[in-house]
Symmetry: D2
Subunit: 333 residues, 4 copies
Amino acid sequence: MLNFSLIGAGRIGKMHAKIIKAHPKTNLKYVFDVNSKLANDVVKLIGCTKAKSIEQAINSKNVDAVLIASATPTHTKYITLAAKAGKAVFCEKPIDLNINNVNACQRDIQNFKVPIQIGFNRRFDLSHLKAQKARANKEIGELEMIVITSRDPKPPGIDYLKAAGGFFRDATIHDFDLTRFILGDDPVVQISAFGGALFDKNAKKIKDQDTAMFILKSKKGVLIHINNSRRAVYGYDQRVEVFGSKGMIISNNQVPNSVERFTSKSTNTKDTLHFFFIERYEQAYKDQFNEFVKCVIKKTTPKVTFEDGKNALIIANAAYKSLKSGKVINVKF
Amino acid sequence: MLNFSLIGAGRIGKMHAKIIKAHPKTNLKYVFDVNSKLANDVVKLIGCTKAKSIEQAINSKNVDAVLIASATPTHTKYITLAAKAGKAVFCEKPIDLNINNVNACQRDIQNFKVPIQIGFNRRFDLSHLKAQKARANKEIGELEMIVITSRDPKPPGIDYLKAAGGFFRDATIHDFDLTRFILGDDPVVQISAFGGALFDKNAKKIKDQDTAMFILKSKKGVLIHINNSRRAVYGYDQRVEVFGSKGMIISNNQVPNSVERFTSKSTNTKDTLHFFFIERYEQAYKDQFNEFVKCVIKKTTPKVTFEDGKNALIIANAAYKSLKSGKVINVKF
Amino acid sequence: MLNFSLIGAGRIGKMHAKIIKAHPKTNLKYVFDVNSKLANDVVKLIGCTKAKSIEQAINSKNVDAVLIASATPTHTKYITLAAKAGKAVFCEKPIDLNINNVNACQRDIQNFKVPIQIGFNRRFDLSHLKAQKARANKEIGELEMIVITSRDPKPPGIDYLKAAGGFFRDATIHDFDLTRFILGDDPVVQISAFGGALFDKNAKKIKDQDTAMFILKSKKGVLIHINNSRRAVYGYDQRVEVFGSKGMIISNNQVPNSVERFTSKSTNTKDTLHFFFIERYEQAYKDQFNEFVKCVIKKTTPKVTFEDGKNALIIANAAYKSLKSGKVINVKF
Amino acid sequence: MLNFSLIGAGRIGKMHAKIIKAHPKTNLKYVFDVNSKLANDVVKLIGCTKAKSIEQAINSKNVDAVLIASATPTHTKYITLAAKAGKAVFCEKPIDLNINNVNACQRDIQNFKVPIQIGFNRRFDLSHLKAQKARANKEIGELEMIVITSRDPKPPGIDYLKAAGGFFRDATIHDFDLTRFILGDDPVVQISAFGGALFDKNAKKIKDQDTAMFILKSKKGVLIHINNSRRAVYGYDQRVEVFGSKGMIISNNQVPNSVERFTSKSTNTKDTLHFFFIERYEQAYKDQFNEFVKCVIKKTTPKVTFEDGKNALIIANAAYKSLKSGKVINVKF
């Protein structure tokens, strides 16, 4: 049994707490949150111990791994603490909103050889994964285009927006990572970004975007399109299309049931899509965690690395540069 | 150019008039209808000649072929006249509602070797045809089950119902023929029929059915299910499912466009199905006629024979016997 | 926390063991199986106690409920023991293969007012449930037809077949129950059954069926079609179509992912369906158990009763009568 | 009856010849082609007269309208001739590859008030049209994004490529027009273009593109993505997605039949898409022509104007500017 400490007990932290509990080979030992009430909720839900301090949560001898789901600005600090304590680390995305902090953290931990996995859960979605494999095994021949549609059901509140580091670093970052995942060893070299606040007053107020489109180009010339919105009334819209010389594979949307309705006005009507990421990516979150557990036990390198977290941020930064300059920006990792 | 006479200028007659006109190798010479007004309509629409009598329409030297789309009770008489005059005959289904009349007609014409094709149009539908081929070429392995769903958009008026010879002989007869078509040389040997007037007062009044279900069994043991309704609010529901040891092929429903709608209540919503058979089977009616023209020109035997028309009626009669007796009826051709 | 004893530790028993373990309000106390090795497996998997006897499993004071997943011939005996011990009972279907045993059991337990729920899991499938609701809330208007397709991926071995009581009592019984569930208070009154051993030598050897079709009629005249096969190469085929005066709802098949493939030969290709019932009805099994737990805690009557288990068997028996006699059989509950 | 002259008797000319012949209110009087053999083919096919000169074809008194389907560089000359002769003009896209020629033509014909319709056939596709209407009638609320996928089945030969004026002016021009059509009175103001020759040696040789992606922005901030390829092995891929505050409408791909296949490896498999534009847009070409006939008869303004033809070219030119400069280009009409 691997003993975990959970840092951060908000919505995503709670989800991870349940996953740790349900896994046959892991146990939730400690939970820590600066908000004591949230930590108590997890204690009630799962029956673990509330850590008295971040140090107890991270440094305790009987803790094997730390799962970081706290506020983004605390990530690098906790990663560093855990690495120094020799604990395996699973950290939610993004590592940090500032690339300098990410680089500093990378330097700080470079001598501590602990496994670190970043929470790009979509890489573990069975359908997206099949799309990636269809590229890797050349089922679709030579890759030529990727089209990613990624739309949230509804915009978050202004507090979330203020802390999120901008639409591209908060939301599109998943799509930038998925792009890198599908491309394999063919790096992104250019990006052009468009965006605006078309409907969300909060986004407008803080000069954020709620709607965005991107084109990226890889070194081999593959063209990638991403489109994002903070609001799709029909549910959490998540599609990936991978097109090549021998065909196409689409990882299509998912509906929570398989009902189709036929009336005097319409046919083949399905229910709305999954509400949001926790429902849509339930399987992916479980498999992501299972992969981390396997890496810790077998002492292998996680499939989603610190470097991956950093590189997605580098693309997001280039996207902002493009948006502001009206130019195609060269991406340098 | 083959010159045609059209007998019967109602809804289906008009459709055939247009098809004759549009075909590169055929010409509509005469139209005849006991209702003079209907004949005049076709003259205006197409520019052919109104025959003064049924004899002129059928016997005229410059007429090569006769297309019979008149009222069912006149079919055998006109088939016989045309056969005796040496004209090729295309006759709408059913040949007659009474098997004795069909048999008498068959005897009357047996010495006149003219091509006769019966209007089981569904055999020419591209999708149903692919289902039949998947059985014939063993793409689906050994055939085990067929499921046919066949529902009209709305019930006809009482005058139509009174003349139609009952739901099974008027509507299901298409499905009985399609069953025989898909089965190939494996004959139907048993049938069990259920039916009732669940919603249509006219059907109830004349003790007809508006809803029916059937199970048929072939000599080899293949099981076939057919279900019918006189009313499907979402359009003309036409599906054929062919299931075997190596898989299944479905000839699915068709919508007149490819639009899908997504709202806050539902996703993937398509428009209603084609309204009725003229829209749904537009391609099949054209190909059916083209096949007849090829048979006449090349002097080959039509793919849908008088015998086929007779055998579908035999099954319909057995179905009524089953409905009345509450027993499984053996079908004898 | 409700303490459970699990009787029977085969494939389905193991599945239930995990469900009991995962439920927040239940605990697996004892497991019992005449095959000691199977019981040990569950002990290892879950960490419960192996009961020394069936009496310990059922009568122990700290046991609140008994989940019976043992061989069918033992069901009535264990139900009776548990009822007499005042324990709540969840029993897998069928209650027994012989209606006399079912009736005897019903008499034996009639004075022991314990909650008894029968394992017709499909009633809890979210999609089938929506189909049932669309009938109940008249979304589809007046119900006129039901079409159920239910095909297993591959036939079981001969040992299973010999013990299973025949295809209709083993497999179709689920569809008979689903029919009753969708019909609501409109009882089945007639049935016509067809079946044969088209491909499975074992079924043929013991004069069982591997392929079957049924038509049932309800008191109100609703027509129901069921078709079954022991083998569908494309996976576990489970579809329910409910048709009425205002439209249709289909509970369609389910694929484990949402990938679609496009090649030079084909488009929109999905992966094969779920392998079998444990994968397909994962959600239904969980919700079924949760419903039972709620009934026990709130002392309400289970939604799937002993009577339901008995009535499905009565229909199965009538189906065999129809198959043998070639007649439509009246169903009497 | 409107008498037509057809100028240009290649693949598209022939298609138009058949459409003119089939329309109840039009008649093909003359055909003209610099390649005499092609003109002869149409004469044989339809039975019209071969014009001795372009002047006869255009100026003859009994000619009401001219349909121009000749090589692109001849379009403006023939448009001008026809306009001066007072004939109604239907001209295939593009008007010309050089905006200066287009402008000159526009000046030349400004005083001749004849109806001129440009052949952007996709505006008449029933499904695309429903997408446009869903924007216009606000079914989808406020428009926010458009995604157009438009991929040919296979690249043309090098001769075609050399004459075509580049991928964007030859192919994407349809998508630029469709974008303008859907946007309504909200003009395109910016464009960013990416493209390359990823697989077609001919395209590479002449520095053309075979793969391209675009983002356009409208004055109101709507974001539009277009992606194009010269080769999709699964058929002619034509999709339009229109997304707004209240939902989404997709004009999806079309398959020539409604068959779905299920095997041991896959499910729901459809056949490949329509081969190319003549098959896919059969209905659109007919309705486009019918619209033109109505305009000529009722003396109304065509729905697709010379201005539309010019504006699509302006966007294509801006796209090339973006591709070369690596900048977002402002579009000025």
